[in-house]
């Protein structure tokens, strides 16, 4: 069952390594976080991506690249969330060969909220409940056929779920 997954992981790793070597050539050996990027590709918990404070950087750490907009993703989230501590968010897609789905909340202190790995045979649909510190877009990212697609929706938050 894992042949496809492994080959995708290998592809992703090659892309990441390619990007890393370009970065090394271009910037000198500065701070491209190869080990963490590989950690995501190797199916380990992607800790650095979850700790990242900039959402674009978090996505790059997780996937090694940026997603393109797609209209084949349906993201359900409330227009207004009275309680940011519990915001129901779900995504479903008609894209084929989906291997992962993730949720990103750019205005949260740690934007990457959840990353779901979907082995072959698992439906490309996930529902969960997120915390939102304040009004923000919610981005759903779908990895399908080795490519990255995203869609987003704004959720207005009246009482934040991360404050204190």
């Amino acid at each position: 069952m894992s042949n496809l997954r492994e080959s995708l992981s290998v592809t992703r790793r090659l892309i990441l390594e390619g990007a890393a070597s370009i970065a090394l050539v271009g910037l000198g050996a500065i701070s491209f976080p190869i080990p963490t990027a590989l950690a995501a590709a190797n199916d380990r918990y992607p800790e650095a991506a979850f700790k990242q404070k900039d959402f674009n950087e978090a996505i790059k750490l997780l996937y090694g690249r940026i997603a393109e907009q797609a209209d084949k993703i349906k993201l359900d989230a409330p227009e207004i969330a009275e309680n940011g501590a519990v915001v129901p968010v779900s995504v479903t897609t008609t894209l084929d060969d989906v291997t992962s789905i993730s949720f990103v909340v750019p205005e949260n202190p740690n934007p990457l909220a959840a990353y779901y790995r979907l082995p072959p045979g698992t439906m490309p649909s996930v529902a969960n409940r997120l915390k939102m510190a304040k009004t923000s877009n919610v981005i759903a990212i779908v990895e399908a056929g080795g490519k990255l697609y995203s869609t987003s929706r704004e959720v207005k938050v009246t009482i934040g779920g991360c404050g204190g």
Binding site: A113, Y115, Y116, P119, M123
Partner: protein
């Protein structure tokens, strides 16, 4: 101790729908208690579902998943009476597992 994990898995038309509710504080580390001290981060990092010896769903979570997390997904296959094994590990190394029958 009662399991922290509640799972309902229902097979229908060749697809098994799984809904899970876990009791866990999911503390983000960004919230202060009444004494003004930050409550340390305490959250589930990985939640795994296994059917018939293979993983059917893996959730990697950060601090922004709501307290007492809920997640729903579906996979092809699974028959009434099959085992579904569910386990999580949090950032403090605590774990819990349970096995339920698909309905």
């Amino acid at each position: 101790m009662a399991s922290s994990i509640r799972v309902r898995a229902i097979a229908n038309g060749g697809i098994t729908e799984v809904q899970t509710l876990i009791q866990h504080p999911m503390d983000s580390g960004f919230i202060k208690d009444e004494n003004g001290q930050f409550i340390p981060a305490h959250f589930i990092q990985e939640l795994t579902f296994e059917h018939d010896g293979r993983k059917v769903f893996v959730a990697d979570w950060g601090t922004a998943v709501a307290k007492d997390p809920y997640v729903k997904f579906s996979f092809k296959g699974g028959n009434k009476g099959d085992d579904l094994k569910v386990g999580w590990i949090d950032n403090q190394g605590t774990t819990d597992t349970t096995t339920v029958k698909i309905q």
